[in-house]
Amino acid sequence: MPHAERTLRDRTAIVGVGYTDYSRDSGVSTQTLALRAIRAALDDAGLGVRDVDGVACHRVGDSVDPAQVAQGLGIADVRFVRDVFGGGSASVGTLVDAAMAVASGMAECVVCWRALNSRSEGRMGSATGPAAAAGDAQYWIPHGHLTPPQLFAMETRAYLHRWDYAAEDLGRVAITQREHARLSPRAMMTQPLTMEDYLASRWISDPLRLFDCCLETDGAVALVVTTAERARDLRKPAVLISGAAFGGGYQLTSNHWSDRSVAPAVRMAPRLYASAGIGPEEIDVAEFYDAFTPLVLMQLEAYGFCKPGEAAAMVADGATALGGSLPVNTHGGHLSEGYVHGLNHVVEAVNQLRGACGPRQVPGAEVALATSQPGMLSGATSAVVLRQAA
């Protein structure tokens, strides 16, 4: 059947994951971080550098060139090089690029990573000289509106107002994830967080407070992608890339998006589920891109885990906590584990499906969702459904 041959479903697998420490000052270059994380991921898979024939990363002018990494790994004849300019909305998509390269036969074994010194070597969106080609950002930069918290704050106020959500609804997201982070050995934030702490935290860009915002982390994570067949013979239980999709969205200013009440991923989600042949009810654990707390609520709605306007109640009921019906961001996410720009979410999903999460393990997790930023501000999104190999 031609359609079956054209789908990515279960044809590729993640066979290794690796990380560096997450810190506030790594003391090393992003090249070193990338190579260390890749080495760790290959060790995890039981593979060596000679097995790698493709490289893929996303970056925003803040990290090592993947071609340089390929040379560093000693790949004499690299078969796939993907250098994605993008942030949180590109993270999962870079993994999908790797899967497509493997499924097509372009490459056999691709490493994906994100390496950044976002704390010690420059913050994203800091006001240190706008690029010559500002694009649509030229319309907000003059107003002092340019950092990620400011840009998401604009989306957040409209969203909170539309569904009559309160500050406490965002606070519960931060608190839930902090509790999860307390169970992650890699987490940067492990002190308990109370609602009083949350509400007392300082404004960053109203309506976003400090504890609505992600951490700034030095660190790297890497993933190894190969064919489902080859995955069967490797060291760790394979995690299949069961479904994948890219989608669109809007920037602050753009046409054809009159309705801003549900995140743009709502239009992609049906395509994602169809690609995996499942529905949201089959997802056991969700790792949502969470640069800011409202993104979690938005994605619960956009990905069909509840109706628009019901996400806050879902979080308040404990559904997204460990032990709930849909544990979300079981590692603590970008809010409390660390900020490795979307890819530590994929790593956590893999670890959940391997049953390797110790005290934060979701019992019997077989299918996981991992997402990128859901399509605001960049105008792009992507996500994967991962599945435990049978």
Binding site: S126, T128, A133, H143, G144, M154, R157, R202, D206
Partner: protein, 146 residues
Amino acid sequence: MSDQQVPVLMDRDSREWWLALRRHELALQTCTDCGRLRWPSRAICNDCGSLEWRWTESRGTGTVVSWTVTHRPPSPQALVPYTVVLVRLDDQDDVFMPGGWNGPADGEGLAIGLHVRVGYQAVVDQHGEDATILRWEPSVGSGEEI
């Protein structure tokens, strides 16, 4: 923000829009073939695909979709707090335009759905040249205009 140089980053597509602001005109592109409005500047109509368009003047009014109040300055020189407003234009419901706020710096009095009109603020750009940026303000007699 007002005493500092403001980065005005016009490009070849947007130059006319920025120059119109200096004349205190709010410009939108109008598709010559189907009449659809668009902003920011694009070479093609996102409805009919026509490459033919002209600049036309907006009614200059709209409603507040959202706003932010910045407390953590993006650069050390920035004076905080300050407010930035996102407005849905009355001309067409999917054109959203951000701007400064000609009102209290902490945004007091703003409300989603508030009717506003365009205002203009003279600034000095990064080259020391005179420039103009958008600054929304409460509309007067907004009851009739809605």
